[in-house]
C-alpha cells in the first residue's frame, strides 16, 4: 500500500487544504441564486445603485413643461 508511506502526506494534505478550504469555497461563494419572484415589502429591499451617494443628473428636478 503506497498510501501508507508518510513521506508524501504533508504535501498532499497541504494542497488539499488549500484547494478545499480556500479555492472551492471562494468559487462557490461567488455563485448567486435568483430569488423567487414574489412580492416583497419595498423598504426592506435596498438596491445598491452607483448614483446614490453622489449628485448626478438623475437627482436634478425635472424640467417643467413649457407653459
Amino acid at each position: 500500500m503506497p498510501q501508507l508511506d508518510t513521506s508524501t502526506w504533508f504535501i498532499t494534505i497541504t494542497s488539499m487544504t488549500i484547494t478545499l478550504f480556500i479555492m472551492f469555497q471562494l468559487k462557490l461563494s461567488k455563485h448567486s441564486y435568483p430569488s423567487n419572484p414574489e412580492l416583497k415589502p419595498i423598504n426592506t429591499s435596498m438596491h445598491t445603485t452607483p448614483w446614490e451617494s453622489k449628485w448626478t443628473k438623475i437627482y436634478s428636478p425635472l424640467s417643467l413643461p413649457q407653459q
Partner: protein, 226 residues
C-alpha cells in the same frame, strides 16, 4: 506483480517535484466563478445542481447547522469532481490517498464535535451513555461509546479510500485479464470485456455515491451536534 498493482496509487512526481499539488487543484478549473450578469450554460447547470443538493441536504438542519452549507457543498463538489476526474485512464486519483481523506475527515468531524460540546454540552455528553443501561455496564459502555466517537473520522476516511482504491484495482485487474485473454480465447475475453464495461459504469456511480456518503455523514454528525 504486487508492486505493479499498487503503482498507480503512489503520489506522482515529475523530475523530483511533487505534481500532486497541481493534480489536487485541477478539479477547481471545472468550476469557473461567475463574473457576468448572465451566466453561461455550464455555470447555470452547476448552480442548479448545487442548489438542488443543498436544498436536499441542508433542509433538515436548523439555522446553526445551515451555516455549514458552503463547507459541505464545496466538500461534495471537491470529492465528486476528484473521483470523476480520477476515472480518466492513466490519471492519478487523489481520493485514493488516505492522508488526504484523513485531512478532510478529521477537521470536519472535530468541528462538529467541538460545536456540540460548545453549544450543547449536556446533550453531547449524554451521547456517551444510551438510556436504560444497567448500572454495572455503565463504565464499559462509556468507554465503548468514547471509542466509537473517536473512530468516526477514521471510518469516514478509510471508507472513501477503500472504495475508490478497490474500484480502481478491480478495473485494473479485469482490464489486464481482458488483454491477456484476447489471444487465448476471444469469447472469454469478450465476456470479461462486458464485465469491465459494467464495472466502469458502476465505478462512475460509486464515484458520486462516495462523495455523497462522505458529505452526508459529516452532515449527520453536524445534525447530532447542533
Amino acid at each position: 506483480m504486487n508492486e505493479n498493482l499498487f503503482a498507480s496509487f503512489t503520489t506522482p512526481t515529475m523530475m523530483g517535484l511533487p505534481i500532486v499539488i497541481l493534480i489536487i487543484m485541477s478539479p477547481s478549473i471545472m468550476f469557473p466563478s461567475p463574473n457576468r450578469l448572465i451566466n453561461n450554460r455550464l455555470i447555470s447547470i452547476q448552480q442548479w445542481l448545487l442548489q438542488l443538493t443543498s436544498k436536499q441536504m441542508m433542509s433538515t438542519h436548523n439555522n446553526k447547522g445551515q451555516t455549514w452549507t458552503l463547507m459541505l457543498m464545496s466538500l461534495i463538489l471537491f470529492i465528486g469532481s476528484t473521483n470523476l476526474l480520477g476515472l480518466l485512464p492513466h490519471s492519478f486519483t487523489p481520493t485514493t490517498q488516505l492522508s488526504m481523506n484523513l485531512g478532510m475527515a478529521i477537521p470536519l468531524w472535530a468541528g462538529t464535535v467541538l460545536t456540540g460540546f460548545r453549544h450543547k454540552t449536556k446533550a453531547s455528553l449524554a451521547h456517551f451513555l444510551p438510556q436504560g443501561t444497567p448500572t454495572f455496564l455503565i463504565p464499559m459502555l462509556v468507554i465503548i461509546e468514547t471509542i466509537s466517537l473517536f473512530i468516526q473520522p477514521v471510518a469516514l476516511a478509510v471508507r472513501l479510500t477503500a472504495n475508490i482504491t478497490a474500484g480502481h484495482l478491480l478495473m485494473h485487474l479485469i482490464g489486464g485479464a481482458t488483454l491477456a485473454l484476447m489471444n487465448i480465447s476471444p469469447t472469454t475475453s469478450f465476456i470479461t470485456f462486458i464485465t469491465l464495461v459494467l464495472l466502469t459504469i458502476l465505478e462512475f456511480a460509486v464515484a458520486l455515491i462516495q462523495a455523497y456518503v462522505f458529505t452526508l455523514l459529516v452532515s449527520l454528525y453536524l445534525h447530532d451536534n447542533t
